[in-house]
């Protein structure tokens, strides 16, 4: 179980996270959404230890982890997929999968993992994780390295960012599979309706605060702007729905 207690994060006089309290139970699929600048990505990075909060506590399974480094958190069972996948010179897709797996994996196993994110493995295994790969390819490799860890808490920071529509259709399928196959809690930062649609719980953030938490049935209409839809008025005064 992940718990955040009174997390604050201020930069350049802007309160990016403003007294965040949150408890997430195990084995849930959670989507954090909200307008740009509402603090979603910063919150994800604070959980992973990539950013350090000014005050407040991050607690994983009852253990205070605020002072733990990124790798210590990773080894406690946390995993993080970057919004902009990191590129390397000389490190191949296979190298990255081997590091991620933390055990020996053969080429066949690595191929199976890539196939799950929709990549034709033979073509990709020995390619360097660099600019020669497209945004969609890098994103899938990023997701593969994270999904492979089968962590008890996996965070995806805007997985849909920077990929084309075709790749996005496949991405939804990947997340549906992750949901079925990976035990543990998944947190996805997303704006996409189709990702929101597969959530157990949606967290709506605004101006550095958690505005609402609820099921998709409760929150989707508000998030998608279908609730309190502005009414159109006909000339003459009659109201149209």
């Amino acid at each position: 179980m992940l718990e955040l207690q009174d997390i604050c994060f201020t930069r350049e006089n802007k309160k990016i996270l403003n007294h965040i309290d949150l408890r997430l139970e195990d084995n849930q699929f959670i989507v954090i959404t909200g307008p740009n600048g509402s603090g979603k990505s910063t919150l994800a990075k604070v959980i992973m230890g990539i950013e350090k909060q000014d005050s407040g506590q991050v607690i994983l399974d009852g253990q205070y982890i605020s002072n733990k480094s990124i790798d210590e958190r990773a080894n406690l069972g946390m995993s993080f997929a970057f919004q902009q996948p990191v590129k390397f010179k000389g490190i191949t897709v296979y190298d990255l999968l081997k590091i991620s797996a933390k055990k020996k994996i053969n080429r066949k196993e690595a191929c199976d993992i890539l196939a799950k994110v929709g990549l034709c493995a033979k073509e990709y295994l020995d390619r360097e994780v660099n600019n020669s790969l497209s945004g969609g390819e890098l994103k899938r490799i990023e997701i593969a390295t994270v999904a492979l860890r089968k962590a008890k808490l996996t965070i995806f920071d805007e997985p849909e960012a920077g990929i084309d529509l075709w790749s996005f259709q496949n991405l939804i399928k990947v997340f549906e599979d992750i949901r079925k196959e990976i035990p543990g809690t998944t947190i996805i930062i997303s704006h996409q309706e189709r990702i929101l649609n597969i959530a157990d719980k949606i967290i709506l953030m605004k101006e550095g605060k958690i505005k609402k938490i609820g099921s998709k049935e409760e929150l989707l209409p508000e998030v998608l702007g279908k609730k309190n839809k502005p009414k159109c008025c006909k000339l003459g005064g009659d109201t149209l729905e």
Partner: protein
């Protein structure tokens, strides 16, 4: 290889590690300035030079992917060894040439090896050339290597050159020259890592004289501690040709890298590119690897190993 002692075998395995000391094809082993072992084959002849120290290697035309090994080992402190090796590669011959120099210096005098290698490729020949430099030993004497490589490519010839210097060489000044005729390709990949007070200087000069001549030079280097590296390149396009030079360097500690690019287009059809990037390891690379469970130090090693792989 009965003339080899234990330290020789270690040096040999460092400069030709994938071969486990079992040389396939022709070879010539040089130790402390003298040839000590040689084998020739039906297609590859090795002849000792008469005027200067060194060998001529003749590869018959149409040879189909045979090996030539020419390792050099130096265990005698204070020795300054200069060797001239010329390769004559016949028409349409395909060959893999593995050179390398290992210096073991336990004493206070400097040990130096200057290898001048010239390659003359006839029409359609294809050479893959691997060169590895390595130094070891606890002596205060410096281990110095100054290789010169000259490549002459005739119509349709290709040369791929791969040079690595990762450990133990105190000072190196490397010169690589290429003269390319029509439809030729010269690909150079160089990897250097320097430590301590080491100094490494690299100088590339490639003349693209023929139609459709092309070259691709990639230099990847890591300068750590107080070491200094200098990378100079000069690609001259005299015809419809293509040249691409990439210089990438990672800095650590107080390491210093100087990159001096030069591209000269003497033809309106010449297409020349130079890219150079120097900097420390990107923080985001370390963070990504740390999210996969590596410590910061392990992440740094992984980035450098990948970069120099």
């Amino acid at each position: 290889m009965s003339n080899l002692e234990q330290v020789d075998e270690k040096l040999l395995s460092e400069v030709s590690d994938s071969l486990e000391n079992t040389f396939k094809g022709a070879y010539n082993i040089r130790k402390n300035g003298k040839g000590i072992e040689r084998k020739i084959t039906e297609n590859i002849n090795i002849v000792t030079k008469k005027d200067v120290s060194g060998i001529d290697i003749y590869i018959k035309e149409n040879t189909n992917w045979e090996f030539v090994h020419i390792p050099v080992i130096i265990t005698q402190s204070g020795l300054k060894d200069v060797v001239y090796n010329d390769f004559y590669v016949g028409k349409n011959a395909k060959v893999i040439i593995i050179a390398g120099c290992g210096i073991h210096n336990e004493c206070s005098s400097d040990s130096e090896h200057n290898g001048v290698h010239r390659f003359f490729l006839e029409e359609g020949a294809y050479v893959k050339y691997y060169e590895k430099h390595y130094g070891e030993g606890d002596g205060t004497g410096k281990r110095i290597l100054n290789p010169v490589t000259e490549v002459h490519l005739k119509d349709g010839a290709t040369m791929e050159m791969d040079s690595v210097q990762i450990k133990g060489v105190d000072s190196t000044e490397r010169i690589t020259r290429g003269v390319l005729e029509d439809n030729t390709n010269f690909v150079v990949t160089e990897k250097i890592m320097t430590h301590g007070e080491q100094f490494a200087k690299t100088n590339f000069e490639v003349e693209l004289n023929g139609e459709n001549a092309s070259t691709h030079v990639t230099s990847r280097s890591v300068a750590t501690q107080n070491s200094v590296q200098e990378f100079k390149s000069n690609v001259i396009g005299n015809a419809k040709c293509f040249g691409h030079v990439e210089c990438d360097a990672i800095l650590k500690d107080s390491g210093k890298v100087i990159a001096i690019p030069k591209i000269i287009a003497n033809s309106v059809e010449a297409n020349l590119i130079h890219e150079a990037a120097i900097g420390k390891i990107a923080g985001e690379q370390l963070i990504k690897l740390m999210t996969l469970g590596l410590t910061e130090k392990e992440a740094e090693e992984q980035v450098i190993n990948g970069f120099l792989k």
